[in-house]
């Protein structure tokens, strides 16, 4: 009986907190919805007929699986670094926070470099955006994702730079920092599905 009462009072005491602010999630869910429409379009085209299925399977075979895997791990690591940076920010350890944010930016730049390397490799083989139905989607979807990554890197850079000035301003408020980290996690989360769809399904 006491146990249940304790749980109940505990549940009442825990204050539910919306990360960033409720309005922010309009952007996140808007973006997620657009991407889920893209994923569904990808799958529908893949299973349109036996012919498209072979084209997509051959496309997956020709991609560099190890670069894809490394890219996923790099993004996961940078997401984790951002989590650590946020927790140091909250505990007031700003130097460590800047260090981890810089590490996350470094990982993000690594992701961009690997992606560009992959694109150049494909273009040198004569495979461009209009090669076939698979590569049309491959270049454009990963390109849109790359755009998100670049936006995320620039936001993280703004946070790290303004933090290093040690002057409180609009870019170092908890709301902005949390918003940037949430955005970065969303970029990571979208890549996980893109990785599964483009590199793993074969």
């Amino acid at each position: 009986m006491d146990f249940v009462a304790a749980i109940k009072s505990d549940a009442l005491n825990i204050k539910k907190r919306t990360p960033v602010e409720p309005d922010f999630w309009v952007l996140i869910f808007g973006d997620l919805t657009v991407f889920s429409v893209l994923f569904i379009a990808f799958m529908l085209r893949r299973f349109e007929s036996a012919e498209t299925h072979t084209v997509f399977s051959m496309g997956t075979e020709s991609l560099n699986q190890s670069i894809g895997l490394i890219n996923t791990l790099v993004l996961l690591t940078s997401s984790y670094a951002v989590v650590l940076a946020l927790s140091y920010y909250r505990s007031g350890d700003l130097n460590k926070m800047i260090k981890f944010t810089c590490f996350a930016i470094f990982c993000g730049l690594g992701f961009v470099c690997l992606k560009i390397f992959e694109y150049i490799e494909k273009i040198n083989q004569g495979i461009t955006v209009t090669a076939d139905r698979f590569f049309e989607l491959y270049f454009t979807f990963t390109g849109i994702h790359l755009l998100h990554v670049l936006i995320g890197i620039s936001l993280l850079t703004i946070v790290a730079y303004r933090m290093s000035l040690k002057k409180p301003d609009a870019f170092t408020t908890p709301g902005f920092v949390e918003g940037v980290t949430c955005y970065w996690h969303m970029v990571d989360l979208l890549w996980l599905i893109l990785f599964a769809l483009f590199y793993l399904l074969g």
């Binding site: 825990i14 539910k16 907190r17 919306t18 990360p19 409720p22 999630w25 869910f29 997620l32 919805t33 889920s36 994923f39 569904i40 799958m43 529908l44 893949r46 299973f47 349109e48 007929s49 036996a50 498209t52 299925h53 699986q65 895997l69 996923t72 791990l73 996961l76 690591t77 997401s79 984790y80 951002v82 989590v83 650590l84 946020l86 927790s87 909250r90 505990s91 908890p174 949430c182 996690h185 969303m186 990571d188 989360l189 996980l192 599905i193 990785f195 599964a196 793993l200 399904l201 074969g202």
Partner: protein
């Protein structure tokens, strides 16, 4: 004051995420196993693994585990709905593609 993120919990989640990613990459290599000859089974597992990773990131990295119910619910609904649609396309679309091949 916002309570600091539990670092230990996040580290564990990160470890799990890396393990799942490596596991999913390994799964594609061992597709010779008899259970995977059934078409579409491997695809469903891979998509579900991605969905599990997304739920982990959303709950622990985006801190939705102590968010209000409407926010958590919307996120989970999005993940579930997308996964369900993708898996059903694999299951039903895969069959029609195979029959048109035969």
């Amino acid at each position: 004051m916002i309570k600091p993120n539990s670092k230990q919990q996040c580290s564990m989640v990160f470890g799990v995420l890396v393990l799942i990613t490596l596991g999913a990459a390994l799964l594609t290599e061992v597709s010779i196993l008899p259970i995977f000859t059934n078409h579409g089974f491997l695809e469903c597992i891979l998509i579900s693994l991605a969905a599990v990773k997304i739920v982990l990131i959303a709950e622990y990295f985006m801190e939705l585990h102590d968010a209000p119910r409407w926010l958590r619910g919307t996120m989970l609904t999005w993940v579930m709905a997308t996964t369900a649609v993708l898996v059903s396309i694999v299951l039903f679309g895969g069959q029609t593609a195979m029959t048109s091949l035969a």
